[in-house]
């Protein structure tokens, strides 16, 4: 099947009894791209994958692959292949017969299907394990068998449901690089479901962040990480501090915001028109925050600008940087990722009063509010 593996989801909806698992989603995944559906468990990402695969029927809306609607078609006629969460390798069949399963269903003779399955296994360097049973393989080997079994169908779309979750950390890092390389080589569309942010941005051309059955943001990994559109994405991706305040004044396209607790900070408006008193959300990257120890207790400081004042809550050494979490009275915790050389040149300790400063150019305005309004700001 050499057709296009472009996927379009049009108003796709899935309801189970009363609960809405997937809520009127529109999404286009270009042919030959690596797309990650990312979100917490229960956000609907696996349901979307299963609807693309044909293991779940949409309540409303359409799934189109290569420009044609596939709703109602059995999985095999969609040109998709799925890799299941714990691989679902058939325990009663050898590795070879697992890989050859699709050919057997299509009526290919024994000699030919074994020949082709062996070739497939050779590509993932598992040919010497062809006669083993799945339970005799390691997790990483099982995953490669599952991959071979799916790819022997010659799919235009490969669907991967949490493909790395059953592996230990070391293998996980190795296999995600392998997946990425494989996708480039095959040139087909990969749709990969995960709940791990770093996994998603490491492999994907396109990351789709989901929450409660809806898409929060879809874009390149770098966009999602550095230019989140909502407070939800900013918080979920983890690289940002979210700031909330009321517009006090606007000059030269830059707004000055005042938070509930009195801090003032500037945010570029990017052409957005706002009125005084509007509540805005913006964010600043954790690694663009500078930390400074103060001698006086926090309460005795003047109202800070483009800065927050608080006490160090936790310090986590991360190798290349140090993650410092700061308790700020009246708002959510603030995080500064300090380059390790800088940190150890002038270290702080838990409980120390500190000021965290940033420059207005590093502030990014969040255009959709998401659920930010409900949480403290």
């Amino acid at each position: 099947m050499a057709q296009s593996g472009e996927i379009e989801l049009c108003h796709l909806t899935k309801r189970f009894d009363r609960t809405v698992a997937v809520d009127a989603i529109d999404l286009a995944i270009p042919h030959g791209s690596y797309c990650c559906l990312l979100g917490p468990s229960g956000c609907g990402k696996t349901t979307i994958l299963r609807m693309i695969a044909g293991h779940e029927t949409p309540t409303e809306g359409d799934v189109r692959i290569g420009g044609e609607s596939v709703v109602g078609l059995p999985p095999v006629r969609r040109g998709t292949a799925m890799m299941f969460q714990n691989y679902a390798l058939f325990p009663h069949l050898t590795v070879l017969d697992n890989v050859a399963f699709n050919l057997k269903m299509r009526g290919v003779g024994k000699a030919e299907r074994h020949q082709r399955a062996r070739e497939m296994l050779a590509q993932v360097r598992l040919d010497q394990f062809a006669d083993r049973m799945p339970s005799q393989l390691s997790g990483g080997q099982q995953q490669r068998v599952a991959l071979s079994r799916a790819l022997i169908t010659n799919p235009r779309v490969l669907l991967l449901d949490e493909p790395l979750s059953a592996l230990d950390e070391f293998l996980r890092l190795q296999m995600r690089g392998e997946l990425r390389r494989m996708q480039k080589e095959l040139g087909i569309t990969f749709v990969h479901v995960t709940h791990t942010q770093l996994e998603a941005i490491a492999v994907a051309d396109m990351v789709v962040v989901m929450d409660q059955g809806r898409i929060e943001q879809a874009g390149s990994a770098r966009e999602i990480y550095t230019l989140p559109v909502s407070a939800y994405v900013a918080r979920f991706m983890g690289g940002q501090n979210v700031l909330t305040g009321k517009v006090a004044s606007v000059t030269d396209g830059i707004a000055t915001l005042v938070s509930d607790t009195g801090e003032r900070f500037s945010s570029p408006l990017n052409g957005q028109v706002v009125a005084e008193g509007d509540v805005l959300h913006c964010c600043v990257r954790r690694d663009r925050v500078a930390l400074e120890r103060v001698r006086r207790p926090p309460g005795a400081l003047p109202e800070p600008t483009n800065a927050v004042v608080g006490a160090v809550h936790a310090i986590e050494y991360q190798g290349t940087y140090v993650k410092v979490t700061i308790d700020v009275p009246g708002r959510e915790q603030f995080v500064a990722n300090v380059v390790d050389s800088k940190f150890f040149a002038n270290p702080v300790d838990i409980g120390d009063p500190v000021v965290a400063r940033w420059v207005p150019e590093d502030v990014h305005l969040l255009t959709t509010s998401g659920q930010a309004g409900e949480t403290h700001g």
């Binding site: 029927t57 109602g72 078609l73 059995p74 006629r77």
Partner: protein, 291 residues
């Protein structure tokens, strides 16, 4: 190839799959049961069934003091056997599930308990005769050990012998479902309870018993129903000194007294059903079985 198996055709498939099962049960269980009820209202004349509608069978059944004695006797057996098999079933399962490692040994010992279940009940019952008899192994051992001078008479052909045989035959029906329930308990739950400071018996009471209640209920249903429905153990092991409801019924059918036997069967079935429904009201077995 059909584009999609619609919900209705899938539903039809499920009905098709269950059809042979349901029809066989309907023909060989449903219809016969209905016939028993119908015949219980028929009259009897010199070994011939007369299809009329009379209540004589029931009137005679409830009018006879023998009926009440039989029920009292049968229910007595059921309660005693239920209590003993429950203790055995729970203890054996608890030992196997929580104290025996590795898993293969656990499975092997469980199979050791179940093997006799796959052999003949009659043979297993009569195997007690050389054991418990006046000159049986048990008495000879007791005399040899100097515990008694005279052989014990009450061992065979007595209530004692009946209960022993029941426990021997039916305890597996208690062990298997309880074992099955207990085996599904996550060991981490128990370790968590121990870590939380629960002693051995608190763990059993607060964790193991509640989580095995489906198995206990299933086992209880089996044992009660089996004892209530027995006639051969009572006949042989009591040596004719005791009787049960079904034994009386079987004596009637032996002389072709079908309508009175049917009336007795209907009453027995109502009693057993009431007991089973009572157990099912305490524990919803189906939800945990099929769900």
């Amino acid at each position: 190839m059909p584009a999609r198996r619609s919900n209705t055709s899938r539903l039809r498939l499920h009905h098709l799959l269950v059809a042979p099962f349901a029809s066989l049960l309907l023909v060989f269980f449903g219809v016969p049961l209905a016939l028993v009820v119908v015949v219980s209202f028929f009259d009897l004349d010199q070994f011939d069934i007369i299809p009329t509608f009379v209540l004589t069978n029931y009137v005679e059944l409830f009018g006879s003091s023998l009926t009440y004695t039989l029920y009292a006797n049968t229910i007595k057996y059921a309660v005693i056997v239920w209590a003993i098999t429950l203790v055995i079933g729970f203890t054996v399962s608890y030992f196997l599930v929580f104290h025996v490692r590795p898993f293969l040994l656990q499975l092997a010992l469980f199979l050791l308990c179940t093997v006799p279940f796959w052999t003949s009940n009659v043979i297993r019952m009569i195997s007690w005769i050389p054991f418990l008899g006046r000159n049986g192994i048990f008495n000879q051992s007791l005399i040899a050990l100097g515990i008694v001078d005279q052989p014990l008479e009450f061992l065979l052909f007595s209530d004692f012998a009946v209960v022993i045989a029941y426990v021997h035959l039916f305890s597996l029906f208690m062990i298997a479902p309880i074992f099955n329930s207990m085996a599904r308990i996550d060991p981490a739950v128990i370790e968590a309870a121990v870590d939380a400071g629960a002693g051995r018996f608190r763990v059993i009471r607060e964790i193991v018993v509640p989580l095995s209640k489906t198995g206990i209920a299933m086992g209880s249903i089996f044992v009660v129903a089996l004892v209530m429905g027995d006639f051969f153990v009572v006949k042989i092991m009591s040596g004719g000194q005791s009787a049960s409801v079904v034994l009386a019924m079987s004596n009637e059918t032996a002389v072709l007294q079908y309508p009175p036997a049917a009336a007795s069967a209907v009453v027995l079935l109502l009693v057993v059903t009431a007991m089973v429904v009572g157990i099912l009201r305490i524990v919803d077995v189906r939800r945990e079985l099929a769900g």
